[in-house]
Protein backbone atom coordinates (compact mmCIF):
# COMPACT_ATOMS: atom_id res chain seq x y z
CA UNK A 1 0.00 0.00 0.00
CA UNK A 2 1.27 3.47 -0.73
CA UNK A 3 0.43 6.82 0.76
CA UNK A 4 0.88 9.89 -1.42
CA UNK A 5 1.73 13.06 0.50
CA UNK A 6 2.81 16.51 -0.53
CA UNK A 7 5.05 18.83 1.48
CA UNK A 8 6.87 22.09 0.90
CA UNK A 9 10.49 21.58 1.88
CA UNK A 10 12.83 24.57 1.90
CA UNK A 11 10.39 26.39 -0.37
CA UNK A 12 10.08 23.59 -2.92
CA UNK A 13 6.98 21.44 -3.24
CA UNK A 14 7.75 17.76 -2.98
CA UNK A 15 5.28 15.00 -3.82
CA UNK A 16 6.24 11.78 -2.10
CA UNK A 17 4.83 8.26 -2.25
CA UNK A 18 5.31 6.74 1.20
CA UNK A 19 5.42 2.95 1.10
CA UNK A 20 5.05 2.65 4.87
CA UNK A 21 3.07 4.75 7.38
CA UNK A 22 5.86 4.35 9.97
CA UNK A 23 8.28 6.70 8.19
CA UNK A 24 9.12 9.64 10.42
CA UNK A 25 9.61 13.11 9.05
CA UNK A 26 13.31 12.73 9.95
CA UNK A 27 13.67 9.51 7.95
CA UNK A 28 11.77 11.02 5.04
CA UNK A 29 14.19 13.96 4.96
CA UNK A 30 17.34 11.90 5.40
CA UNK A 31 16.69 8.60 3.69
CA UNK A 32 14.22 9.48 0.94
CA UNK A 33 15.03 13.11 0.11
CA UNK A 34 18.75 12.93 1.01
CA UNK A 35 18.58 16.05 3.16
CA UNK A 36 20.98 14.77 5.79
CA UNK A 37 21.44 18.03 7.69
CA UNK A 38 18.91 17.08 10.35
CA UNK A 39 20.66 14.43 12.42
CA UNK A 40 19.41 11.23 14.00
CA UNK A 41 20.94 11.41 17.47
CA UNK A 42 18.69 9.60 19.92
CA UNK A 43 15.65 9.12 17.63
CA UNK A 44 13.50 9.46 20.77
CA UNK A 45 12.97 13.21 21.15
CA UNK A 46 15.61 13.67 23.81
CA UNK A 47 18.61 15.26 22.05
CA UNK A 48 17.18 17.80 19.59
CA UNK A 49 19.65 16.97 16.79
CA UNK A 50 16.71 16.37 14.41
CA UNK A 51 15.11 19.79 15.01
CA UNK A 52 13.44 21.34 11.95
CA UNK A 53 10.80 24.02 11.55
CA UNK A 54 7.34 22.80 10.57
CA UNK A 55 4.96 25.61 9.62
CA UNK A 56 7.45 27.98 11.27
CA UNK A 57 7.71 26.08 14.57
CA UNK A 58 10.64 24.02 15.81
CA UNK A 59 9.83 20.37 16.47
CA UNK A 60 11.69 17.07 16.86
CA UNK A 61 11.32 15.50 13.42
CA UNK A 62 12.08 12.05 14.87
CA UNK A 63 8.79 12.12 16.80
CA UNK A 64 6.71 13.23 13.81
CA UNK A 65 5.15 10.83 11.32
CA UNK A 66 5.67 12.06 7.77
CA UNK A 67 2.19 10.90 6.77
CA UNK A 68 0.61 13.06 9.46
CA UNK A 69 2.45 16.12 8.12
CA UNK A 70 0.86 15.98 4.68
CA UNK A 71 0.66 19.59 3.48
CA UNK A 72 3.22 20.95 5.94
CA UNK A 73 5.83 23.61 5.21
CA UNK A 74 9.20 22.30 6.38
CA UNK A 75 12.42 24.28 6.79
CA UNK A 76 15.68 22.39 7.35
CA UNK A 77 19.25 23.54 7.82
CA UNK A 78 19.78 23.12 4.04
CA UNK A 79 17.25 25.91 3.42
CA UNK A 80 18.40 28.69 5.72
CA UNK A 81 21.39 30.22 3.86
CA UNK A 82 20.86 32.42 0.80
CA UNK A 83 23.37 31.00 -1.65
CA UNK A 84 26.79 31.70 -0.15
CA UNK A 85 25.38 34.14 2.40
CA UNK A 86 24.95 32.43 5.73
CA UNK A 87 21.87 32.88 7.88
CA UNK A 88 22.72 35.28 10.74
CA UNK A 89 22.41 32.42 13.25
CA UNK A 90 24.87 30.30 11.23
CA UNK A 91 27.35 33.19 11.11
CA UNK A 92 26.96 33.83 14.84
CA UNK A 93 27.64 30.17 15.67
CA UNK A 94 30.93 30.42 13.78
CA UNK A 95 31.83 33.78 15.35
CA UNK A 96 31.20 32.51 18.88
CA UNK A 97 32.60 28.98 18.53
CA UNK A 98 29.13 27.56 19.15
CA UNK A 99 30.26 24.11 18.07
CA UNK A 100 33.07 21.63 18.26
CA UNK A 101 32.32 18.34 16.51
CA UNK A 102 29.29 19.83 14.77
CA UNK A 103 26.89 16.88 15.02
CA UNK A 104 24.29 18.74 17.07
CA UNK A 105 24.81 22.03 15.18
CA UNK A 106 22.06 21.79 12.53
CA UNK A 107 19.56 21.05 15.30
CA UNK A 108 20.98 23.80 17.49
CA UNK A 109 20.74 26.34 14.66
CA UNK A 110 17.21 25.36 13.67
CA UNK A 111 16.21 25.48 17.33
CA UNK A 112 17.80 28.92 17.71
CA UNK A 113 15.96 30.19 14.63
CA UNK A 114 12.73 28.87 16.12
CA UNK A 115 13.52 30.41 19.50
CA UNK A 116 14.14 33.84 17.96
CA UNK A 117 10.88 33.56 16.02
CA UNK A 118 9.00 32.66 19.23
CA UNK A 119 10.26 35.90 20.83
CA UNK A 120 10.16 34.65 24.43
CA UNK A 121 13.81 34.84 25.47
CA UNK A 122 14.88 38.41 24.65
CA UNK A 123 18.35 39.35 25.85
CA UNK A 124 18.27 37.28 29.05
CA UNK A 125 20.95 34.55 28.86
CA UNK A 126 19.05 32.46 31.39
CA UNK A 127 15.93 32.49 29.24
CA UNK A 128 18.02 31.61 26.18
CA UNK A 129 19.56 28.64 27.99
CA UNK A 130 16.14 27.50 29.20
CA UNK A 131 14.62 27.84 25.72
CA UNK A 132 17.54 25.88 24.19
CA UNK A 133 17.41 23.04 26.74
CA UNK A 134 15.90 20.67 24.18
CA UNK A 135 19.22 20.60 22.29
CA UNK A 136 22.04 18.63 23.83
CA UNK A 137 25.70 19.24 22.94
CA UNK A 138 28.09 16.53 24.08
CA UNK A 139 31.09 18.74 23.30
CA UNK A 140 29.74 21.27 25.77
CA UNK A 141 29.70 24.30 23.47
CA UNK A 142 26.77 25.76 25.40
CA UNK A 143 28.52 29.01 26.35
CA UNK A 144 29.25 29.84 22.69
CA UNK A 145 25.76 28.75 21.62
CA UNK A 146 24.15 31.07 24.17
CA UNK A 147 26.40 33.95 23.10
CA UNK A 148 25.56 33.34 19.44
CA UNK A 149 21.81 33.39 20.09
CA UNK A 150 22.13 36.54 22.21
CA UNK A 151 24.13 38.30 19.53
CA UNK A 152 21.53 37.60 16.87
CA UNK A 153 18.75 38.69 19.25
CA UNK A 154 20.59 41.96 19.91
CA UNK A 155 21.28 42.58 16.22
CA UNK A 156 17.62 41.99 15.42
CA UNK A 157 16.48 44.22 18.28
CA UNK A 158 18.78 47.03 17.07
CA UNK A 159 17.54 46.63 13.50
CA UNK A 160 13.92 46.74 14.68
CA UNK A 161 14.69 49.88 16.68
CA UNK A 162 16.25 51.53 13.62
CA UNK A 163 13.23 50.59 11.53
CA UNK A 164 10.77 52.03 14.02
CA UNK A 165 12.87 55.19 14.61
Amino acid sequence: MSFPISLTINGVRRDVELDDPRVTLLDLLRERLHLTGAKKGCDRGQCGACTVLVDGRRINSCLALAISHDGADVLTIEGVARGDVLHPVQAAFIAHDGLQCGFCTPGQIMSAIGLIEEGQAGSDPERVRECMSGNLCRCGAYVGITEAVLEVQQTLAAANQRRSA
Binding site: F3, D20, P21, R22, T24, D43, R44, G45, G48, T51, R57, R58, I59, N60, L63, A64, L65, I67, S68, S111, G114, L115, E118, Q120, D124, P125, E126, R127, R129, E130, C131, M132, S133, G134, N135, Y142, V143, T146
Partner: protein
Amino acid sequence: MKTFDYVRPATVSDAVAAAAQPGAAYLAGGTNLLDLMKGGIARPDRLVDVTHLTGLDRIEHLADGALRIGALVRNADLAHDANFAKSYPAVAEALLSGASAQLRNAATVGGNLLQRTRCSYFYDAASACNRRAPGTGCDARGGENRLHAVLGWSEACIATHASDFCVPLVALDAVVEIEGKAGRRDIALEALHRLPGDAPHRESELEPGDLIVALRLPPEARAFAAHARYLKIRERTSYAFAIVSAAAALRIEHGTIQEARLALGGVAAKPWRARSAEATLAGASPTPAAFRRAAEVALADAKPSGDNRFKIELAQRILVRTLMLAAAGTPARIPALPASPFASVSGALQNV
Protein backbone atom coordinates in the same frame (compact mmCIF):
# COMPACT_ATOMS: atom_id res chain seq x y z
CA MET B 1 7.93 -0.34 15.44
CA LYS B 2 5.05 -2.64 14.62
CA THR B 3 3.20 -1.63 11.49
CA PHE B 4 -0.30 -0.22 11.68
CA ASP B 5 -3.21 0.97 9.58
CA TYR B 6 -3.32 4.71 9.25
CA VAL B 7 -6.69 6.45 9.32
CA ARG B 8 -7.28 10.17 8.96
CA PRO B 9 -10.92 10.89 9.84
CA ALA B 10 -12.61 14.08 8.65
CA THR B 11 -14.94 14.53 11.62
CA VAL B 12 -14.97 13.85 15.34
CA SER B 13 -17.72 11.24 14.96
CA ASP B 14 -15.73 9.44 12.24
CA ALA B 15 -12.73 9.52 14.56
CA VAL B 16 -14.68 8.00 17.44
CA ALA B 17 -16.04 5.25 15.19
CA ALA B 18 -12.57 4.48 13.82
CA ALA B 19 -10.94 4.41 17.25
CA ALA B 20 -13.63 2.27 18.90
CA GLN B 21 -12.15 -0.80 17.16
CA PRO B 22 -9.92 -3.01 19.32
CA GLY B 23 -6.23 -2.13 18.96
CA ALA B 24 -6.82 1.45 17.82
CA ALA B 25 -5.04 4.50 19.24
CA TYR B 26 -5.41 8.21 18.61
CA LEU B 27 -2.43 10.13 17.22
CA ALA B 28 -2.16 13.85 18.03
CA GLY B 29 1.24 15.44 18.76
CA GLY B 30 2.78 11.98 18.92
CA THR B 31 5.57 13.05 21.28
CA ASN B 32 4.81 10.29 23.77
CA LEU B 33 3.03 7.75 21.55
CA LEU B 34 5.72 7.51 18.84
CA ASP B 35 8.39 7.13 21.51
CA LEU B 36 6.37 4.27 23.02
CA MET B 37 5.81 2.69 19.61
CA LYS B 38 9.52 2.83 18.77
CA GLY B 39 10.22 0.99 22.02
CA GLY B 40 7.56 -1.63 21.31
CA ILE B 41 5.66 -0.55 24.43
CA ALA B 42 2.64 0.73 22.53
CA ARG B 43 1.69 -1.56 19.65
CA PRO B 44 -1.47 -0.18 18.07
CA ASP B 45 -2.96 -1.98 15.06
CA ARG B 46 -4.55 1.24 13.86
CA LEU B 47 -3.58 4.88 14.29
CA VAL B 48 -6.42 7.37 14.09
CA ASP B 49 -4.77 10.70 13.25
CA VAL B 50 -6.85 13.51 14.75
CA THR B 51 -4.41 16.33 13.94
CA HIS B 52 -6.33 17.30 10.81
CA LEU B 53 -9.69 17.65 12.58
CA THR B 54 -10.90 21.23 12.55
CA GLY B 55 -12.26 23.23 15.47
CA LEU B 56 -10.32 21.50 18.25
CA ASP B 57 -7.48 24.03 18.40
CA ARG B 58 -9.36 27.02 19.82
CA ILE B 59 -9.20 28.75 23.19
CA GLU B 60 -12.69 30.07 23.93
CA HIS B 61 -13.93 32.36 26.69
CA LEU B 62 -17.42 31.14 27.56
CA ALA B 63 -20.28 33.44 28.59
CA ASP B 64 -20.30 32.14 32.19
CA GLY B 65 -16.63 33.05 32.70
CA ALA B 66 -15.26 29.58 32.07
CA LEU B 67 -12.42 28.95 29.66
CA ARG B 68 -12.64 26.15 27.09
CA ILE B 69 -9.38 24.87 25.63
CA GLY B 70 -9.57 22.67 22.55
CA ALA B 71 -7.79 19.33 22.88
CA LEU B 72 -5.52 20.06 19.92
CA VAL B 73 -4.19 23.37 21.28
CA ARG B 74 -0.44 22.93 21.46
CA ASN B 75 1.17 23.17 24.89
CA ALA B 76 3.38 26.10 23.82
CA ASP B 77 0.48 28.04 22.33
CA LEU B 78 -1.53 27.75 25.51
CA ALA B 79 1.38 28.71 27.79
CA HIS B 80 2.25 31.73 25.63
CA ASP B 81 -1.32 32.96 25.29
CA ALA B 82 -1.03 36.23 27.25
CA ASN B 83 -4.60 36.16 28.56
CA PHE B 84 -4.26 32.58 29.63
CA ALA B 85 -0.97 33.14 31.47
CA LYS B 86 -2.46 36.16 33.24
CA SER B 87 -5.61 34.36 34.38
CA TYR B 88 -4.09 30.94 35.17
CA PRO B 89 -0.41 31.68 35.85
CA ALA B 90 0.37 28.42 37.68
CA VAL B 91 -0.94 26.42 34.72
CA ALA B 92 1.21 28.38 32.27
CA GLU B 93 4.26 27.99 34.53
CA ALA B 94 3.66 24.24 34.80
CA LEU B 95 3.39 23.91 31.03
CA LEU B 96 6.65 25.80 30.49
CA SER B 97 8.45 23.70 33.09
CA GLY B 98 7.70 20.51 31.16
CA ALA B 99 9.69 18.90 28.34
CA SER B 100 11.54 21.11 25.82
CA ALA B 101 10.48 23.92 23.51
CA GLN B 102 10.36 21.51 20.55
CA LEU B 103 8.15 19.04 22.42
CA ARG B 104 5.86 21.79 23.74
CA ASN B 105 5.40 22.99 20.15
CA ALA B 106 4.16 19.56 19.12
CA ALA B 107 2.43 18.17 22.22
CA THR B 108 -1.28 18.82 22.60
CA VAL B 109 -3.50 19.57 25.59
CA GLY B 110 -5.40 16.29 25.22
CA GLY B 111 -2.23 14.28 24.75
CA ASN B 112 -0.61 15.80 27.81
CA LEU B 113 -3.47 14.52 29.97
CA LEU B 114 -3.15 11.03 28.53
CA GLN B 115 0.63 10.68 28.55
CA ARG B 116 1.87 7.44 30.03
CA THR B 117 4.03 6.99 33.10
CA ARG B 118 7.80 7.33 32.74
CA CYS B 119 8.46 4.35 35.07
CA SER B 120 11.57 2.78 33.52
CA TYR B 121 10.18 -0.74 34.01
CA PHE B 122 7.06 0.22 32.08
CA TYR B 123 9.40 1.39 29.29
CA ASP B 124 11.52 -1.76 29.31
CA ALA B 125 9.74 -4.54 27.43
CA ALA B 126 11.97 -7.13 29.14
CA SER B 127 10.73 -6.14 32.63
CA ALA B 128 7.64 -7.38 34.42
CA CYS B 129 5.00 -4.65 34.47
CA ASN B 130 1.35 -5.05 35.43
CA ARG B 131 0.56 -1.72 33.79
CA ARG B 132 1.97 -2.74 30.41
CA ALA B 133 1.26 -6.49 30.58
CA PRO B 134 -1.43 -7.34 33.16
CA GLY B 135 -0.56 -10.13 35.55
CA THR B 136 3.19 -10.21 34.87
CA GLY B 137 4.21 -8.54 38.15
CA CYS B 138 6.06 -5.34 38.97
CA ASP B 139 9.85 -5.23 38.70
CA ALA B 140 9.85 -1.69 40.09
CA ARG B 141 8.86 -3.02 43.54
CA GLY B 142 12.26 -4.59 44.07
CA GLY B 143 14.18 -2.44 41.62
CA GLU B 144 15.34 1.14 41.21
CA ASN B 145 12.35 2.89 42.70
CA ARG B 146 13.54 6.09 44.33
CA LEU B 147 11.35 8.15 41.96
CA HIS B 148 8.20 6.07 42.40
CA ALA B 149 4.89 6.74 44.14
CA VAL B 150 4.38 7.52 47.82
CA LEU B 151 0.60 8.01 47.65
CA GLY B 152 -2.17 5.86 46.23
CA TRP B 153 0.09 3.03 45.06
CA SER B 154 -0.64 -0.68 45.27
CA GLU B 155 1.38 -3.87 45.35
CA ALA B 156 0.55 -4.22 41.65
CA CYS B 157 1.99 -0.87 40.56
CA ILE B 158 4.00 2.01 42.04
CA ALA B 159 4.29 4.20 38.93
CA THR B 160 3.64 7.94 38.94
CA HIS B 161 1.82 10.22 36.51
CA ALA B 162 4.37 12.42 34.75
CA SER B 163 2.37 15.50 33.74
CA ASP B 164 3.20 18.96 35.14
CA PHE B 165 0.22 20.55 33.39
CA CYS B 166 -2.30 18.32 35.20
CA VAL B 167 -1.16 19.35 38.68
CA PRO B 168 -2.41 22.98 38.75
CA LEU B 169 -5.33 21.93 36.52
CA VAL B 170 -6.61 19.43 39.06
CA ALA B 171 -6.22 22.06 41.80
CA LEU B 172 -8.40 24.43 39.74
CA ASP B 173 -11.19 21.85 39.21
CA ALA B 174 -10.59 21.43 35.49
CA VAL B 175 -13.19 19.42 33.60
CA VAL B 176 -12.52 17.18 30.59
CA GLU B 177 -14.98 17.09 27.68
CA ILE B 178 -15.14 13.69 26.03
CA GLU B 179 -16.79 12.58 22.81
CA GLY B 180 -17.61 8.89 22.78
CA LYS B 181 -19.86 6.31 21.18
CA ALA B 182 -22.75 7.48 23.38
CA GLY B 183 -22.16 11.17 22.65
CA ARG B 184 -20.63 14.00 24.67
CA ARG B 185 -19.94 13.82 28.41
CA ASP B 186 -17.93 15.69 31.02
CA ILE B 187 -15.64 14.21 33.63
CA ALA B 188 -13.69 16.03 36.32
CA LEU B 189 -9.95 15.85 35.62
CA GLU B 190 -9.54 14.61 39.18
CA ALA B 191 -11.63 11.56 38.25
CA LEU B 192 -10.04 10.93 34.83
CA HIS B 193 -6.98 8.99 35.97
CA ARG B 194 -7.34 5.87 38.08
CA LEU B 195 -5.22 4.71 40.96
CA PRO B 196 -3.63 1.35 40.18
CA GLY B 197 -5.39 -0.94 42.68
CA ASP B 198 -5.29 -4.44 41.25
CA ALA B 199 -5.82 -3.24 37.66
CA PRO B 200 -3.05 -0.74 36.85
CA HIS B 201 -3.51 -1.34 33.12
CA ARG B 202 -6.81 0.54 33.37
CA GLU B 203 -5.20 3.95 33.54
CA SER B 204 -8.21 6.20 33.01
CA GLU B 205 -11.99 6.25 32.88
CA LEU B 206 -11.94 6.49 29.08
CA GLU B 207 -13.68 3.77 27.07
CA PRO B 208 -12.58 2.54 23.62
CA GLY B 209 -13.19 5.31 21.09
CA ASP B 210 -13.46 8.07 23.68
CA LEU B 211 -11.80 11.25 22.42
CA ILE B 212 -10.93 14.18 24.66
CA VAL B 213 -12.17 17.18 22.69
CA ALA B 214 -11.65 19.99 25.21
CA LEU B 215 -10.63 20.98 28.69
CA ARG B 216 -12.66 23.47 30.70
CA LEU B 217 -11.58 25.70 33.56
CA PRO B 218 -14.60 26.80 35.61
CA PRO B 219 -15.26 30.53 36.26
CA GLU B 220 -13.89 30.31 39.85
CA ALA B 221 -10.49 29.18 38.59
CA ARG B 222 -9.43 32.70 37.66
CA ALA B 223 -10.05 34.00 41.20
CA PHE B 224 -6.64 32.65 42.24
CA ALA B 225 -4.59 34.52 39.64
CA ALA B 226 -2.93 36.87 42.13
CA HIS B 227 -1.52 34.06 44.29
CA ALA B 228 -0.72 31.01 42.20
CA ARG B 229 2.52 29.10 41.69
CA TYR B 230 3.80 25.75 40.51
CA LEU B 231 7.18 24.44 41.69
CA LYS B 232 9.00 21.32 40.61
CA ILE B 233 12.07 19.54 41.93
CA ARG B 234 13.97 17.74 39.19
CA GLU B 235 17.40 16.24 38.77
CA ARG B 236 18.58 18.89 36.34
CA THR B 237 17.61 22.51 35.87
CA SER B 238 15.54 22.05 32.74
CA TYR B 239 14.01 19.39 30.52
CA ALA B 240 13.39 16.79 33.22
CA PHE B 241 10.39 15.16 34.84
CA ALA B 242 9.45 16.07 38.40
CA ILE B 243 10.71 14.09 41.36
CA VAL B 244 7.97 15.93 43.20
CA SER B 245 6.05 19.05 42.29
CA ALA B 246 3.33 21.19 43.82
CA ALA B 247 0.69 23.66 42.71
CA ALA B 248 -0.69 26.19 45.17
CA ALA B 249 -3.44 28.72 44.47
CA LEU B 250 -4.73 31.03 47.17
CA ARG B 251 -7.53 33.54 47.47
CA ILE B 252 -6.36 36.04 50.08
CA GLU B 253 -8.48 38.91 51.39
CA HIS B 254 -7.38 41.35 54.11
CA GLY B 255 -4.45 39.14 55.04
CA THR B 256 -6.56 36.01 55.48
CA ILE B 257 -6.70 32.97 53.21
CA GLN B 258 -10.29 32.62 52.02
CA GLU B 259 -9.67 29.55 49.95
CA ALA B 260 -6.68 27.38 49.09
CA ARG B 261 -6.19 24.91 46.26
CA LEU B 262 -3.33 22.44 46.49
CA ALA B 263 -2.12 19.56 44.36
CA LEU B 264 1.01 17.44 44.12
CA GLY B 265 2.77 15.89 41.13
CA GLY B 266 5.22 13.00 40.91
CA VAL B 267 3.80 11.33 44.01
CA ALA B 268 1.04 9.09 42.64
CA ALA B 269 -0.41 7.50 39.51
CA LYS B 270 -2.60 10.59 39.12
CA PRO B 271 -2.28 14.31 39.78
CA TRP B 272 -2.90 14.39 43.54
CA ARG B 273 -5.37 16.89 44.91
CA ALA B 274 -4.73 17.63 48.61
CA ARG B 275 -8.21 18.59 49.80
CA SER B 276 -7.71 17.94 53.50
CA ALA B 277 -4.66 20.21 53.46
CA GLU B 278 -6.69 22.89 51.67
CA ALA B 279 -9.25 22.77 54.47
CA THR B 280 -6.60 23.57 57.11
CA LEU B 281 -5.81 26.83 55.31
CA ALA B 282 -9.33 28.21 54.93
CA GLY B 283 -9.56 31.23 57.26
CA ALA B 284 -5.89 30.97 58.27
CA SER B 285 -3.19 33.59 58.03
CA PRO B 286 -0.59 32.88 55.33
CA THR B 287 2.23 32.02 57.71
CA PRO B 288 5.04 29.45 57.46
CA ALA B 289 3.55 27.58 60.43
CA ALA B 290 0.16 27.28 58.71
CA PHE B 291 1.85 26.11 55.50
CA ARG B 292 3.92 23.50 57.35
CA ARG B 293 0.79 22.16 59.01
CA ALA B 294 -0.98 21.97 55.65
CA ALA B 295 1.99 20.11 54.16
CA GLU B 296 1.95 17.57 56.99
CA VAL B 297 -1.74 16.95 56.40
CA ALA B 298 -1.22 16.65 52.64
CA LEU B 299 1.33 13.87 53.10
CA ALA B 300 -0.26 12.24 56.17
CA ASP B 301 -1.20 9.08 54.25
CA ALA B 302 2.06 8.85 52.33
CA LYS B 303 4.23 5.76 52.61
CA PRO B 304 7.32 4.75 50.70
CA SER B 305 6.95 2.16 47.94
CA GLY B 306 10.69 1.47 47.92
CA ASP B 307 13.82 3.57 48.34
CA ASN B 308 11.79 6.73 48.17
CA ARG B 309 11.01 7.74 51.73
CA PHE B 310 12.83 11.02 51.00
CA LYS B 311 10.07 12.02 48.62
CA ILE B 312 7.61 12.41 51.48
CA GLU B 313 9.61 15.12 53.22
CA LEU B 314 10.65 16.58 49.87
CA ALA B 315 6.98 16.89 48.87
CA GLN B 316 6.18 18.60 52.17
CA ARG B 317 9.02 21.05 51.71
CA ILE B 318 8.13 21.84 48.11
CA LEU B 319 4.52 22.36 49.13
CA VAL B 320 5.55 24.81 51.87
CA ARG B 321 7.84 26.65 49.44
CA THR B 322 5.12 26.82 46.79
CA LEU B 323 2.65 28.19 49.33
CA MET B 324 5.16 30.82 50.50
CA LEU B 325 5.75 31.97 46.92
CA ALA B 326 2.03 31.93 46.12
CA ALA B 327 1.28 34.00 49.21
CA ALA B 328 3.99 36.49 48.21
CA GLY B 329 2.16 37.00 44.93
CA THR B 330 2.27 35.76 41.36
CA PRO B 331 5.27 37.27 39.56
CA ALA B 332 4.46 39.71 36.76
CA ARG B 333 6.25 37.47 34.30
CA ILE B 334 6.87 33.73 34.38
CA PRO B 335 10.40 33.27 35.78
CA ALA B 336 13.29 32.55 33.43
CA LEU B 337 13.47 29.03 34.88
CA PRO B 338 9.78 28.14 35.16
CA ALA B 339 8.83 26.27 38.34
CA SER B 340 12.41 26.18 39.59
CA PRO B 341 12.75 26.42 43.38
CA PHE B 342 16.34 27.57 43.00
CA ALA B 343 17.41 31.19 42.81
CA SER B 344 18.37 32.09 39.29
CA VAL B 345 21.99 33.05 38.91
CA SER B 346 22.88 34.46 35.54
CA GLY B 347 26.30 34.47 34.01
CA ALA B 348 28.65 32.29 32.03
CA LEU B 349 30.03 30.57 35.13
CA GLN B 350 26.69 28.89 35.74
CA ASN B 351 27.43 26.30 33.08
CA VAL B 352 31.06 25.68 33.98
